[in-house]
Symmetry: C2
Subunit: 333 residues, 2 copies
């Protein structure tokens, strides 16, 4: 590995001049050429570690997500990559495994590794450790979930209206007994999604039967159990809304196993597009979030913060969702 000293020697200039060349300061053309030759000749490239020691910049951003292995995470990351990559930022990816402890630990790691910025999908509503990051002067952008009592930039999808539209579509097809498989109310999108449901029911003057609100973890198992719970009722719902991809899959599984026909015996509407929802017949109706855009927007905000531009803080970007309505929702007369 050659250093700027070597380059200086070979080009018969000084380290100062080489460094200035490297950083785009004006130098004499003759020297410029000599230096460029030397760099090529030595296959020199700048050592970012040494540079970082001086500049306190690493051109690395940390991304922390509760679960890496799903389409949501990777799509979002892909969106971020589209922004960061051309600007020369690398991404350090970590998985908090849905554990607050892990989240704290990883955030500490980011701080130690001196990332220039952080994108975080927080595990829950706890804010103290995040605030500490901010106080350390490291910009941080939240995705998917905002945190109460914390002033922080964030990019989320418009959960309330997404679900509202879904429930509205269900109602418009004649349903009245509409159930929801909801998630823990201390998780931001879970809370919002339930709110969307409640608001739609209210606006259409349908009294909410609290037995039709099933609450559990937003996992496959949660979705599976939700269906079991509804099917055990004397008067089961005619349509069910599931609050995320995992619960949709679990619900689907349970419905199939019971030999029920979706769109016939029971109507189903999910949140998040998945392979399964698209390929199965009938296709499952879903609310679609703009995943890549979430990634892109969060990256863009982070970039401007890293440049020191804090206009409009805190920016909360609430991205619109789309709905795909299929005949997984029966039309009742």
């Amino acid at each position: 590995m050659s250093t700027i000293k070597d380059v200086a020697k070979l080009s018969q200039t000084s380290v100062g001049t080489v460094s200035r060349y490297l950083n785009g300061y004006p130098i004499k053309t003759v020297n410029k050429e000599k230096i460029e030759d030397a760099i090529k000749c030595l296959d020199f490239s700048i050592n970012p570690i040494a540079r970082g020691l001086k500049t306190n910049k690493t051109y690395t951003v940390g991304i922390l997500i509760p679960k890496l292995a799903n389409l949501f995470s990777t799509s979002v990351i892909e969106g971020m990559d589209q922004v960061f990559d051309p600007l020369g930022y690398s991404i350090l990816v970590c998985d908090s495994k849905n554990s607050l402890e892990k989240e704290k630990e990883k955030l500490r790691l980011f701080k130690d590794k001196l990332v220039d910025g952080i994108i975080l999908m927080p595990v829950n509503n706890t804010e103290q450790h995040i605030r500490e990051i901010q106080e350390n002067g490291v910009p941080i952008v939240l995705i998917d979930r905002l945190v109460n009592n914390l002033q922080c930039d964030g990019v989320v999808s418009d959960n309330v209206n997404g679900v509202y539209q879904a429930v509205e579509a269900i109602i418009n097809r004649g349903h009245r007994r509409i159930a929801i498989i909801a998630g823990p109310q201390n998780i931001y999108p879970a809370k919002e999604r339930l709110e969307g449901y409640l608001r739609a029911m209210k606006d259409y003057n349908i009294e909410v039967d609290h037995n039709l609100i099933y609450q559990n973890e937003l996992t496959r198992e949660g979705g599976y159990q939700g269906i079991a719970s509804f099917c055990a009722m004397d008067e089961p719902p005619t349509a069910i809304f599931t609050s995320n991809d995992e619960t949709t899959i679990g619900a689907y599984k349970s419905i199939i196993e019971r030999g029920l026909l979706i769109g016939e015996d029971i109507s189903l509407f999910g949140y998040d597009q998945t392979e399964l929802c698209q390929m199965v017949r009938p296709q499952i109706s879903v609310v679609i979030q703009p995943l890549e855009t979430i990634g892109k927007r969060s990256a863009e905000i982070l970039i401007s913060r890293m440049k020191g531009d804090y206009t409009g803080f805190p920016i909360i970007n609430r991205l619109k969702t789309e709905i795909v309505v299929t005949n997984s929702v029966k039309t009742i007369y």
Copy 2:
């Protein structure tokens, strides 16, 4: 941000002693306590950038994959994380977007960022740029795909036998006209999977009709087109093997759209487990690769190489697959 100088001052020792404490060398107990107090008091933590400048270690590994946004990639990465995380390594994740140019560029980035090691799923069979990495002394482990003419550690699944068993199972259910949707033969697993097919056919004395070998990109579109091609034949196959997750999905879609019943009108056997294959009725028969294990093993090998242990180089780990046979394959009498 406090430094070891501050710690030394506060604890009334010297930077040397503090550094030695930090690196686990023996020091007097009194000093040890004083230093620990000072560290706590100052909330000191070591600056890995500065350390890296001296040690040429960053405790970061680079992971480069052709496409991040799918279950294969994330599962493998999750496996790696299980190994790296407890050892204090962070992972720099990059997407080569199936482009050799991007792969070269990212590999250069890794070199510049001074990662301690690299895990690479190569885009194709090109080896020169990988060899350069090796010559630079940076350990590298390949996953999923080996590269011809390159001595390099690698972890792959036993594609040949995986497909062999699948085709064997199809044959044992009475099929003779068995087709395969194969991939580009300059991609390692695609080549091996076709070989598994050919070998099984040969071993069971079934003459290969070359019209039943459809070759295309291993994409959804490829799978979709494959079915179209087979269905246009005078004497279509009774069973179809698809070479990866994407082609399976594409094939499934095409079959459904044609109104054909899987396991009845046509039999289907895929490679790689997906949501879809599990949830659909009938479930799709598949060859399952041990994804997390691929991640874990590759990480373990890389760790030992980074420690300087080069025993057995090059290690090629060929992991066994499993097959799940369902009635997506009809039994013919």
